[in-house]
């Protein structure tokens, strides 16, 4: 028996919007500690890890560990039927091949039940190791989204370089080049507007903007984003979800290809 009641139902809606373009099908794992997901994108290049801790739910009952395979597009279709202020409850019986989403309006005068078929999905749980990173940048998530969107109109890849001067996002394309430098800035009125750079070692890595731009679909979940970089490790782009968890995107850096490929053509 599984019953998870999330008062802030809009969080789940936003989570789905954040990952449904990157991942088509995934297993949601429920345990006593929380509701989580780990999935690869279709080209097996990027990895998504989602965690909603049990404490974040108003009511959390999970008798035994259960894994539910869902098509994220279909799940998103159902969650779109929930109002932004609705309370969402996820229910499943042991051994059932369906999951039920219940939406309650804040005034309790409308209650909807949506039942969705589950799928069997082969997937192996990858134990993602904790690691130290050479550089960690925390910045406003909207700013990061804006940068990725802007750069994608110029080039295909972004070079993220962290030095003690700040963090630089640069790209080059057929029409020219673009460089955006953000300096550490903690003297802001609101803490979420700060740009904080922790650096142990300068680092410069290249990533496909296509992926970065699909990561930024998570922007509505959090005002800030944390980007952790290390030269040998995949980058982690993390959005905190209220007080209850996170969504993390992992992407391996691109190995610099021939100069020719990025050189502008005349």
């Amino acid at each position: 028996m599984l019953e998870l009641r999330l008062v802030q139902g809009s969080l789940l809606k936003k989570v789905l919007e954040a990952i449904k373009d990157l991942v088509t099908d995934a297993n949601f794992d429920c345990s006593a500690t929380g509701f989580s997901l780990q999935a690869m994108d279709s080209s097996h290049v990027a990895l998504v890890a989602l965690l909603l801790r049990s404490e974040g739910f108003e009511h959390y009952r999970c008798d035994r560990n259960i894994s539910m395979g869902m098509n994220l597009n279909n799940m998103s279709k159902m969650l779109k039927c929930a109002g932004n202020d609705d309370i969402i409850t996820i229910k499943a019986d042991d051994g059932s091949d369906t999951v039920t989403f219940m939406f309650e309006s804040p005034t309790q005068d409308k209650i909807s039940d949506f039942e969705m078929k589950l799928m069997d999905i082969d997937s192996e749980h990858l134990g993602i190791p904790e690691a130290e990173y050479h550089a960690i940048v925390r910045m406003p998530s909207a700013e990061f989204a804006r940068i990725c969107k802007d750069l994608a109109s110029i080039g295909d890849t972004v070079v993220i370089s962290v030095t003690k001067e700040g963090v630089k996002f640069s790209t080059r394309g057929d029409i020219g080049t673009a460089n955006i430098v953000l300096r550490q800035n903690t003297t802001v009125d609101k803490p979420e507007e700060a740009t904080i750079i922790e650096m142990n070692e300068p680092v410069s890595l290249t990533f496909a903007l296509r992926y970065m731009n699909s990561f930024t679909k998570a922007t509505p979940l959090s005002n800030t984003v944390t980007i952790s970089l290390s030269s040998e490790l995949p980058v982690v782009v993390e959005y905190k979800i209220a007080e209850m968890g996170y969504i993390r995107f992992y992407l391996a850096p691109k190995i610099e290809e021939d100069e020719d490929e990025t050189k502008p053509q005349v």
């Binding site: 088509t24 099908d25 690869m40 279709s42 080209s43 097996h44 290049v45 990895l47 395979g69 098509n71 597009n73 091949d97 078929k117 589950l118 799928m119 069997d120 999905i121 082969d122 192996e124 990858l126 134990g127 993602i128 190791p129 904790e130 690691a131 130290e132 990173y133 070079v159 370089s161 030095t163 003690k164 001067e165 630089k168 640069s170 080059r172 057929d174 029409i175 020219g176 080049t177 460089n179 922790e198 650096m199 142990n200 070692e201 300068p202 410069s204 290390s230 040998e232 490790l233 995949p234 391996a252 020719d260 490929e261 050189k263 502008p264 053509q265 005349v266």
Partner: protein, 616 residues
Amino acid sequence: MKIVTYNVNGLRQRISQFGSLSKLLNSFDADIICIQETKLRRQELTADLAIADGYESFFSCTRTSDKGRTGYSGVATFCRVKSAFSSVEAALPIAAEEGFTGLLGCSRKDEAAASVAEGLEEFSREELLKVDSEGRCIITDHGHFVLFNLYGPRAESDDADRIQFKFNFLKILQKRWESLLRRGRRIFVLGDLNIAPCAIDRCDAGPDFEKNEFRTWFRSMLVESGGHFFDVFRAKNPNRREAFTCWPSNTGAEQFNYGTRIDHILCAGSCLHEEHDVDGHNLVTCHVEECNILTEYKRWKPGNAPRWKGGWNIKLEGSDHAPVYTSLVEIPDVSRHSTPSLAARYLPMIHGLQTLVSVFKRRQAAKQVQSHLVSSSFSDENIMVGGCSHSVNRSITNCNVPGTYTSCCSLDEDCEHTIPQVDEQSEDLTEEVACNTSIAFNREYVSSMPNKETKKRARKSQQLSLRSFFQKIPNQDNTVDSSTTDTSTNQPGVVDSNDQSQEAPVMDYLGSSPKQNDTKLCASSQGQEAQDGNCYLEKERNNVALVEWQRIQQLMQNSIPLCKGHREPCVSRVVKKPGPTFGHRFYVCARAEGPSSNPEANCGYFRWASVKSRPK
């Protein structure tokens, strides 16, 4: 005379590939260049896309707003000429027409005056407008022949509406051709017709390939089946196999030349020789020197090799078509004429660009010019009257109708200041008018659509006097353009700043800061171990993480199935066609498609991604 047809798959993209329109056009070294799939809307036409020094251009853009039909077709014909005015070059059209029904190019107001082209009277106005609404045809009259630049509609075998559309398109087109041939005109047809006439023209032609109604129609047009047309490429290369001009980009088929021949050059009519009715004389044998497919032509940006990156990018960059050219010989000059008013140089949006610059020029000219004012505007009027000599009254009233031509007023104003050139020009013009009217040949064509032509002439003569004034502007535009694209894009900073700052932080790292780091980083992760602040331990853990990540990446890679043909990782795709499997993911061989006899080509491996509905 060299004529080329090329489906560019986006004119803007091909221009950026070459740096400028001039460079793109010059790469063909041809006199007439027919381009299809410009993918430009009319309002997007600007001087850098439409005007190149030494070429006259004629555009047809899609006019429909039907869903999925906007901004994908569009054709353009570029004619290389030494002079656009009072020239005897055959490459410079005597007349030009957008669409092939005769109904386009008339503004709404005088719709009644718009005349259906001869031979098409049996069709309803709606039918005719529909086939011409997608920017699929430009006709240019080069005196000796009429040249059709065509982009034939594509119709999926299960799309009844489009099949009907394609059918109407070809039927009406055929009537127009027949009407011209009856007048004794010669016809050249160039373009992407989206029809491969015979089994030899298609890589994987099945036994019923030639039974298709469109392919049957195509063959019925050819001389071999009693029609009028020669398929020029086939006439010159009768038995050549695997001569393809288009390769589907979503399968990478060009790698194995697994394509189809749908870009054609057709011609009909007698040769230009006096003894043209003698046996063995025809357009192809007498005037076509060669005809071939430019398979080596650079259709995409160089350096982006390999093109087919294992199918990750389904849409290949560049054009999916190869250009086809033909060389004609013994095409004599024609009588003196000027570029028709359909030319892109007269488009209001291109004029608009130029009038801005003209403000500066005018300021300089104004001082010297005042005294000539009267005489010049007078001569201008003369030209207008001369140009419309058949029906002076009507053309003048037409001139006054604003119609599509918006910049009239400002242009008139400009006229008053262009004195020296205007005078010169007007002399040429009257001469030109005389020539034009004295040639029966020419007039005959004109008479097939009298209203439109006279109106156009009136308009032309009004604008002509300005031409010399503005002639230089497009050039300036072009040079500016190329210089900006040439700007080198070296990227300093990244490397430099790294080098400089590398020293300091490393020192830091070994010296004072590890402790700080640890507390900071490990507060979030594993507090216990980090307490001792041991550098080695930390390194150790990072190594573990590194190894762990390598394992994960290996796992991620390995979880992609291998195809059975080459034991290579597959690519995953999602079903896009509506139906019971819509949205399902599957894996296929990543290689480019090719003949099944070739083991290097796509092995046809297919597997649904391991997702199934739970059994009840």
